[in-house]
């Protein structure tokens, strides 16, 4: 007991220097991920794509659970069955909408040729709604230290904003894009919560514009000299990522990233290289198959041409399957896994102590939004 009294009562201690920012570490094994996506791609093809719900879930589980913020790994608690059910519900809602779209379209066409084109825009609006709700689903399945993230706000309000901003971007030939992204992200982040902490987005469109305006200016050049396009796109994505991460706030916690602007060049070029290589291989395969069929003396001309084309056709289908499978793996390796790792390496979390004792709250959201996004073929976060 005496031991405790030895400390002298002197002048107040100087304020301790601010704690160094917390790191975000990724401990996943790349070859394990490769195995995961390779097997997944094969199963996806065997199941005519239905396996995608399980594969997407497994990919997220791998990426999330190997990402440790301040030493504690994140966890993804979503399950494939939720995605499947969400997709089926979305189908049940989309089917009548497609039919109504068809009938209304006919009436519009009667009135004026191609007058139904604007109706297509309504699907874009629906897609924006789906993006918002899909993000909500993913966030409510993201758990850190036993507390989940969650989102309020309204998907339709978001969709209206996205549409209006989209119109502005269209009218300004893309110049308004930074402000659109800032505004939409602010809406999303201000409705994002980690337990009792509320999120915010502090980056503004002007900063993003200053970082990327010359890319916008030079983009017509990339259309002419297309080998430049991947450089431009990689530059754009890197700047966008860094700007986005720098803006994120959750309660008193803030993020920052020193992602270099050339961080993605290699990744995009590797993906393109693989794509070219695989395309060439596929071309050789098709040529070889056609040669083989020709060498076997089967002519594809004549009265029973249909029956005779079947061997060649099925060989091409098999080759195409193989190509799709391989491309799938390449995309997921470089453009999902490697980008994730590259970005995380540059990430710093400031004032993580603000999240040390947060009360959990928030309800789970359904996977309907992901189902819509799937049914409408939209992607986004």
């Amino acid at each position: 007991m005496n031991d405790l009294q030895w400390a002298p009562i002197g002048p107040p201690q100087p304020i301790p220097p601010p704690l160094p920012p917390a790191r975000v570490d990724f401990s996943g094994d790349r070859s394990e991920f490769r195995k995961l996506v390779t097997e997944g791609a094969m199963l996806e093809l065997v199941t005519f794509g239905f396996y995608r719900f399980w594969l997407v879930t497994d990919i997220r589980r791998h990426l999330w659970s190997n990402t440790a913020i301040d030493g504690d790994a994140v966890e993804y608690t979503g399950r494939a069955k939720e995605l499947l059910i969400g997709f089926l519900f979305a189908l049940a809602i989309l089917v009548p909408i497609y039919l109504a779209y068809f009938l209304v379209g006919i009436e519009f066409e009667r009135w004026q040729g191609f007058a139904s084109t604007p109706l297509f825009i309504s699907f874009y609006a629906f897609g924006q709604f789906a993006i918002f709700r899909a993000r909500r689903y993913r966030l409510t399945r993201t758990v850190w230290r036993g507390v989940r993230c969650w989102m309020d706000g309204s998907g339709s309000a978001y969709s209206v904003r996205a549409m209006l901003w989209g119109l502005l971007v269209f009218l300004t030939l893309g110049l308004a894009l930074p402000w659109r992204e800032a505004s939409l992200e602010r809406y999303k982040m201000q409705h994002t919560h980690f337990g009792g902490l509320r999120g915010d987005f502090e980056a503004d469109g002007w900063t993003f514009f200053k970082r990327g305006w010359w890319l916008w200016l030079l983009s017509p050049i990339a259309l002419i000299i297309f080998p430049l396009a991947p450089f431009f796109y990689a530059q754009f994505k890197a700047r966008e990522w860094r700007w986005w991460l720098d803006g994120i706030r959750i309660g008193g916690v803030s993020l920052s990233s020193n992602l270099p602007t050339n961080a993605f060049h290699g990744l995009y070029w590797k993906a393109i290289g693989w794509w070219l290589l695989l395309s060439v291989l596929f071309g050789l395969y098709v040529a070889g198959a056609a040669g083989l069929v020709a060498a076997a003396g089967v002519s594809i001309v004549g009265p029973d041409a249909i029956a005779r084309s079947i061997p060649l056709l099925s060989m091409m289908v098999i080759g195409y399957f193989a190509l799709a499978l391989a491309l799938n793996v390449v995309m997921r390796m470089y453009l999902q896994h490697d980008i994730w790792v590259t970005v995380l390496e540059t990430l710093e979390v400031h004032n993580i102590a603000a999240a040390a004792d947060v009360r959990g709250s928030g309800e789970l959201a359904s996977a309907l939004g992901e189902g819509f996004a799937d049914g409408l073929d939209v992607a986004g976060f």
Binding site: S27, F48, I106, E109, G113, G146, V147, G302, S309, G360
Partner: protein
């Protein structure tokens, strides 16, 4: 000293990290493996997890992360020591019960294949059957509305309205009416016209609209050559091919598009196989319309052969170029062969007089298109 000795049995109590699922506080706790897993925080009542309820949660390699079905759903216990992890694992019989096993994957594959087979069957047999049965049942007004919509579109594409030269129009109406009477089509709303475009083609729209394009008219050298083409289009109308095609195409692309929506890659294969199915389907329709055209021409006492010759002049030989399996029409040489077989000497009066034929040729004015 006596305080220390009560905490001493290190075999049964181990330090580890616990998140209670209520707050994000990182709690240092002592584990005690009794008849249940006891998680005790200093100065608090221990939490008890029944071994049977404990499940493995996702974690990075080297960390055992546990959840419990009877605890708050997000409560997590994290064990980093290998020996302790092994000890706890040995106690929990249902640790990996919820994970997808190989059997689970096999089940997914089985159900997907079953679903795919059923969809393929619907596309191959169900939708054509539905299209065949439904197409004649579509009420005339609905058909006409769809036709109106299509007509507006066609006119938007080809810019101007139909050619209006009165004498040419009279000749064209006479020709179409003769074909129509022979066909036994009693549709009083049927309209026909010549579109001022150089594309050599003709088509029929739902609700009884037959259009011949100026390009075809220019290439035709006699009324018989031309007549076979609208006769063929009337065949499509008689057989409700438009509506059938609409229902069929709408149905298949809807099923395939929605269900296999974003399946990277395989949708292209499905698209390819679909176009094969569709092409053979529409080849059937075209052959049917040809049969119809032959019947009409015979009923009028004219030969169907000149029309096939006109088609052949326009398309040339088609066989040997690309995939004939994907062609939506029968090959022109096959059609020519068929119509030549049906060639008969003319027994009826000519379809148009020379004067009428000349008027028809000039329906769009003097040469300019």
């Amino acid at each position: 000293m006596s305080d220390v000795s009560t905490e001493a049995p290190a075999q049964s109590a181990k330090r580890t990290v616990f998140f209670d699922g209520v707050s994000s506080r990182r709690r240092q706790v002592m584990l005690r493996l009794g008849d249940a897993l006891e998680i005790g925080e200093e100065g608090g009542t221990p939490v008890r997890w029944a071994y049977a309820d404990i499940r493995r949660a996702d974690s990075p390699a080297g960390i055992l992360r546990l959840a419990c079905m009877s605890a708050p759903p997000l409560a997590r216990l994290e064990i980093r020591e290998v020996a302790l992890a092994a000890e706890v694992t040995a106690h929990c019989p249902g640790l990996d019960e919820h994970q997808t096993t190989r059997r689970g994957v096999a089940k997914i594959v089985g159900w997907s294949v079953a679903a795919a087979v059923s969809i393929v069957c619907v596309v191959l047999f169900g939708v054509p059957l539905a299209a065949d049965r439904l197409a004649p049942l579509v009420p005339k007004p609905v058909e006409r509305r769809i036709g109106d919509a299509a007509e507006v579109q066609v006119k938007t594409i080809f810019g101007r309205s139909v050619c209006e030269d009165p004498a040419g129009k009279a000749a064209f109406t006479k020709l179409v009416n003769r074909l129509r009477d022979a066909a036994g089509l009693d549709d009083d709303t049927m309209t026909a016209g010549v579109l001022p475009t150089s594309v050599p083609n003709a088509f029929a729209l739902p609700g009884g609209k037959v259009f011949v394009m100026k390009g075809l008219l220019d290439k035709a050298e006699s009324p018989d050559e031309l007549a076979g083409i609208p006769a063929h289009e009337l065949g499509h109308l008689k057989h409700h091919d438009n509506m059938r095609g609409l229902i069929y195409n709408g149905g298949t692309s809807f099923l395939i598009g929605l269900l296999f929506g974003d399946v990277t890659g395989s949708s292209a294969v499905i698209f390819a196989s679909r176009s094969v199915v569709e092409a053979s389907y529409s080849r059937e329709a075209e052959t049917g319309a040809d049969t119809f055209a032959i019947e009409i021409m015979h009923a009028l006492g004219r030969s169907p052969k000149p029309a096939a010759e006109l088609m052949f002049r326009i398309t040339g030989r088609e066989g040997g170029s690309g995939f004939t399996i994907l062609a939506s029409h029968p090959l022109t040489e096959d059609r020519l062969a068929r119509m030549t077989k049906e060639d008969r000497p003319a027994s009826g009066p000519p379809l148009l007089t020379d004067a009428e034929w000349q008027a028809l040729k000039g329906i769009c004015g003097s040469g300019k298109i």
